[in-house]
């Protein structure tokens, strides 16, 4: 005590104007500014990573929605020996078209126009576009028409950006004739070996079916268990166990769910490999804890006064829960469900484990048929060596991100729209 008093006595009052003090203050303020700038820098860096990723994907991917085309003049009357338009109308149209041999007609026309090696310029499946054009408008079969057909992938890549030397040379030769069209095939086709022929419809349909199964299983189970845990569960060892396992499941790596699906659904129950059913079941187990956790928070947020009022007019507990608590908690549960579904939609690893990585060229039409989903399709295309697949992969990523952003925006909208302050 004594020594402290003398210490204070001996010390002069702080001279804030002294050079030394001013210097220290300047230093401290500079440190403050640096720290603040560091924080801002961290945010901007993180956000610019996102921006960079999106720019790269969109920059690569937008080209995937277009295709380069070359005109081919087809002299139908000469080549078909005078087929009439009426043959390609009505019920027999497709059968008649098959006997016509469109592929040969197109190949011959290409050779006439572009020489012996002309066939190398065009995508192998380009003749299907001609078939579609005939079915669309049978009248062209009686005339000499010029149709634009997709070029071969190497040339397509070279025309859009930079490609191999031989392709670049062909580009300079035919420079004026190229045109660019929207690649409708990309939206309507499934997987293929030729990047000019691939499309996302098969994967998208697979994703939708899988998501539907996931939702049908995870949503009811998630909501029911959230209600049980919040409204009924007694506090004991048993319910603690349930609670701990739900929290743990939410943090288990997704690939482990794939191992579970493989061991249980495929090997034990003998469900078919690669099927949307197994994918949906596996993803449902993964999504359910997310729904339970968000559901519990939503149920917890419903004020007790509402329950008490319902009890007060003689409702049973089940009536209180299902007539009053659940409807009020539903928007919150839906928000959590959408977020969980968005995560499931982007998930790849567990689906690889259950065999959803096969080459699937026809869209699935049922829940037990081999199917693929968008993220897996992206993964498969990313492995392809052909340069044409780079832009298709990025284009598929754009579609996937659009879906995810829409779902997240919907979740945010729901949260804002139904957020109630009691």
């Amino acid at each position: 005590m004594n020594s402290a008093a003398t210490f204070i006595d001996e010390r002069n009052p702080t001279d804030w104007q002294s050079d030394q003090m001013q210097k220290r203050i300047r230093k401290r303020y500079a440190a403050e500014r640096r720290f603040k700038a560091l924080g801002l820098g961290a945010i901007i860096l993180s956000a610019s990573f996102l921006a960079f990723l999106l720019v790269v994907m969109v920059g690569n991917g937008l080209r995937g929605f277009t295709q380069t085309e070359l005109p081919v003049a087809i002299d139908f009357p000469a080549m078909t020996g005078g087929a009439s338009a009426s043959q390609f109308e009505g019920t027999n149209a497709e059968a008649n078209l098959r006997t016509l041999g469109v592929q040969d007609i197109v190949n011959t026309s290409i050779e006439i126009q572009y020489g012996e090696l002309g066939g190398e310029l065009f995508s192998a499946g380009g003749w299907q576009a001609v078939s579609a054009a005939i079915l669309d408008n049978p009248d062209i079969i009686e005339t000499e028409t010029t149709l634009y057909l997709p070029v071969e992938s190497e040339i397509d890549v070279a025309y859009k950006g930079s490609g191999s030397a031989s392709a670049e040379q062909k580009i300079t030769e035919l420079k004026d004739q190229f045109s660019t069209g929207f690649n409708w095939n990309f939206l309507s086709n499934s997987d293929a070996t030729d990047p000019m022929q691939v499309g996302i419809w098969g994967a998208l349909k697979g994703s939708l079916i899988t998501m539907f199964i996931t939702l049908m299983i995870a949503f009811p189970i998630g909501v029911l268990s959230a209600l049980y845990l919040e409204e009924y569960a007694p506090k004991n060892r048993f319910t603690d166990l349930i609670e701990v396992s739900i929290n743990n499941l939410a943090a288990v790596p997704s690939i482990i769910f794939g191992l579970l699906g493989l061991a249980v659904f495929l090997n034990l129950f003998g469900l078919p490999r690669s099927a949307a059913l197994v994918g949906g079941l596996t993803l449902a187990l993964m999504t359910m804890p997310v729904i339970v956790i968000s559901g519990r928070n939503a149920v917890k947020a419903v004020p007790p006064s509402i329950r008490e009022a319902a009890f007060g007019i003689g409702a049973s507990q089940m009536q209180v829960v299902f007539h009053h608590v659940l409807p009020l908690a539903l928007p919150g549960i839906l928000t959590g469900t959408i977020i969980g579904m968005a995560r499931a939609l982007g998930e790849t690893a567990p689906l690889l484990m259950i065999g959803m990585r096969a080459f699937i060229a026809t869209p699935p039409s049922g829940i037990v048929e081999p199917a693929t989903v968008l993220p897996v399709q992206i993964f498969l295309w990313s492995d392809e060596v052909n340069r044409g697949f780079v832009e298709k992969t990025s284009a598929a990523i754009i579609v996937l991100l659009l879906f995810l952003l829409t779902m997240n925006a919907l979740a945010i909208y729901l949260r804002n729209r139904f957020e109630t302050r009691w």
Partner: protein, 460 residues
Amino acid sequence: MTGSILFLLIIILGGISWFFGRVKARRFVTGSAARGAVHSLPNYHGWYVALWAVGPALLFLMIWNIASPALVTDAALASPAAEQLPQDPFARGSILAEARSIASDQQVKAFNPLSQTMVEPYKTAISYYQTLGAIAALLLVFAGGAYSWLRLKPELRARTKIERITMMALLLASLIATITTIGIFASLIFESARFFSMVSPIDFLFGTEWNPKAVAGPRGETGFGAIPLFWGTVFIGAIIAMIVAIPLGLMSAIYLTQYAPLNFRAWMKPILEVLAGVPTVVYGYFAALTVAPALRDFAVSIGISGASSESALAAGVVMGIMIIPFVSSMADDSIAAVPSAMRDGSLAMGATKSETIKKVLIPAALPGVVGGVLLAVSRAIGETMIVVMAAGLAANMTANPFSSVTTVTTQIVQLLTGDQEFDSPKTLAAFALGLVLFIVTLLLNLIALRVVKKYREAYE
């Protein structure tokens, strides 16, 4: 009659019985003099009848689906065509399995001519037992519906009964999570045990050579030393990714909570959250297509030897970016949980904002931040697609971030996506790796949650 049509029919019949139950119960209310004696609302009577109609039938179908395959096989074996089957149980089993899948339209063509002869008996047996099951199920629907409909009377405590059943459904639903956890654990343990009966656990956990392709032979398996995988996982997920994610995430959280104007925060927080919502396959593609080649060119230009186009650095950096929002929101929460009296006290003493943050807020929020980092690590080491696409397959024990390393999750994918027989140590090794991954992430999560919880209590 296929399963789904039968199921649909039962559900429709259930709806009809709900209607009749309700109609009968309404008459109690409107018709009878003893209006006060009606215990439950008509709806509950309807549900009572519907559940009686549908429940037993569905239960029966479930049991029937499990039991009927054995009956079908017995019936098929009793047919004259079965006499020419070989006695060897394995050959017999495979022929029967093939015939069965052809008969149920899962397979088109038979590899073994003998199975083609068994298809017809199988088809007859399957359709016989299917019809039998369908008739029995429909009879059960009518029996259950009629029984309960006849039992309806004003005093029936339908609501109590329905509520008891609903309660059971709620309990069952919440049990699914526990069952799933047990299922994960059991399947991992079971398959790992089979693996460890072929490969010693010591060799697996402490061996340094990972080369499952060069497996010697039964009981002499080598090349299952998982140390290089563990190192690769830790190197990418716990070291490189965290070097990126911790400073960026922490500084972002500090700026957003302490400095940012409200408007800026309202925009930036969701933008950061988008980073966590991007699918990992997109990150993986980004890492493999853009980041990895750039890093390799950079490494080559500064003269680093052994730079690979699949590098630990590319995978780690991209994974770190993915983790940023995770770290920042955990740090955000724990900084916000520090009582503002502590912050105000420090500011009142004349400390600058940054001094307050560094000397008061961060130390006070440290347990929460550490917990968040542990959760982030657990997430990073379980992450699959980024490392599968960008980290490579070579099991190297190197600290050179430009070289290729492999991780546990990459190897699981590698081991399980080939065409391999299911009993080989190669495929079973994936489950052993999965078990290790599961245990490690579980421990990390438990520790992290405990740390966060303990710290929360200290301030409340």
